[in-house]
Symmetry: C2
């Protein structure tokens, strides 16, 4: 069994030192609770609602910067896998809305968000690489960020690459939700899990920022799509769930069906490239 | 506004004449309620749980057979679009799990289910054509059958072809559902609608058959994914919803995002063909 944690947090925009400390404390809390994998929100070190690139730039750092060094230290100390988002400063000065996957051996994958939301293009350049899927000591783990999850093609890419667990740092802006329903972002994650027979751990933020409210929809869904933890109240919260990730390698939907083998890629090929 | 109807029904296996009459009565009831589009279940004339091809064959008929002739008469009489499923006897004697889209001018599209469930391959050959999307007097309407909806690639194909409403005749076998949750088949339809900003009308069956129970999850979801009607109790039920299908042509997700234009088909192309 893999103990998966999502630590919903309330980053404070611009408070790099404070946000770093809150993220490290969240990782410690998850480790204390026996977690093997810890997921943190998107842009956890910086906050989200930037006035523009000039505000985002001083909050960005390279993959060998202090944030990921700090995560790598805790990953080594507690034998953890950590996934979380931060504004990345690329070698050539380009900014990306990135997420990292870190384990006891260091930074295993860096992913640059491909599908950018709202005003993000004013600050960030969109990535061009497939979502990483990494064999870790705690399972085969994929990584993408927030709005990426809204594109079933992208989740499928991670599933076809063998992801057993998809970690999704997010900042989901709140939307109207009918009474008695889960927020649509939560439903999307549940259905993406069931459709691909993978576990999904999406870690959202809380704490209104410059007039933006958040879904605070952090969740852990099993390979059958049903919620194992979350969504919590809109406050900092540690979610935990134990998942047998071996179950995510079995794509059977019954005695004669298989979520991936039943695809008809020959028939999809002409559609995928259609714009 | 387009008034969409799903008429959940309980076909009786092998009772071709009785099932045809029940389908015609359902269409009449929908027309009486002012429907513009009527969706009926998968294999509505035959039932589903066949002992094998020998039982299915005498229940099959060609597209110019009495079932679709009857639907075409009612479509012309009431200016309706009708979508429903039946076992099709192809020109060369091959059987298909098919659905038809019929309007006042006759049979507009015939679709052969591409993704076959469970024992269906013992009776039916899988289709090889894209889901049809047809301009009708009551909107631009796409068509697929049951398990097809479980493949986001397939719904995307219909959306990219311009479907405003996707009609989905289904026979969803019941599965365990946690208390307080919609069945996963219902969630899939809701998320597929929201992901593609299209309306979805899925018409399920009821009435246990040879030990199989059904979700009876008929539903009409708007382009925002939220339920406008259904799912009903597991009995024959007429669901109705008025939908402005022009809303499904607007893919905006906010001032700067678009559900289809934000796709990155260049990055998906290599994945789609992966098996």
């Amino acid at each position: 069994m893999t103990r998966i944690a999502c630590h919903q947090l309330a980053p404070v925009i611009g408070d790099l030192a404070g946000n770093r400390a809150r993220a490290l404390a969240a990782i410690d809390a998850a480790a204390e609770a026996g977690a093997d994998v810890v997921v943190l929100p998107e842009l956890v070190t910086s906050g989200y609602v930037f006035d523009g690139a000039d505000e985002a730039r001083p909050l960005a750092e390279p993959a060998d910067g202090p944030t990921l060094r700090g995560w790598a230290e805790l990953a080594a100390a507690h034998d953890l896998v950590i996934a979380g988002g931060f504004p990345e400063l690329g070698d050539d000065g380009t900014l990306y809305n990135s997420a990292a996957l870190v384990d006891a051996s260091g930074v295993r994958a860096l992913y640059r968000k491909v599908h950018l939301w709202d005003r993000e293009p004013e600050c960030f350049v969109a990535g061009r690489e497939q979502p990483p899927v990494i064999e870790t000591p705690h399972g085969r783990i994929g990584l993408m960020v927030c709005y990426d999850l809204q594109f079933p093609e992208w989740v499928r890419a991670a599933a076809l690459a063998g992801a057993e667990l998809l970690c999704v740092p997010t900042n989901w802006p709140a939307e109207p939700t009918p009474a008695g329903e889960h927020p649509m972002d939560v439903l999307r994650a549940m259905v993406a899990a069931a459709t691909n027979r993978i576990a999904i751990a999406a870690c959202d933020r809380c704490g209104p920022e410059r007039g933006v409210e958040w879904v605070s929809g952090s969740l852990i869904a099993g390979p059958d799509g049903w919620l194992l933890a979350g969504p919590p109240e809109p406050v900092p919260t540690l979610l935990l769930a134990d998942v047998d990730l071996a179950g995510a390698r079995d794509k059977a939907l019954g005695p004669r069906n298989d979520a991936l083998a039943d695809r008809r890629p020959d028939l999809y090929a002409e559609v995928a490239g259609r714009t």
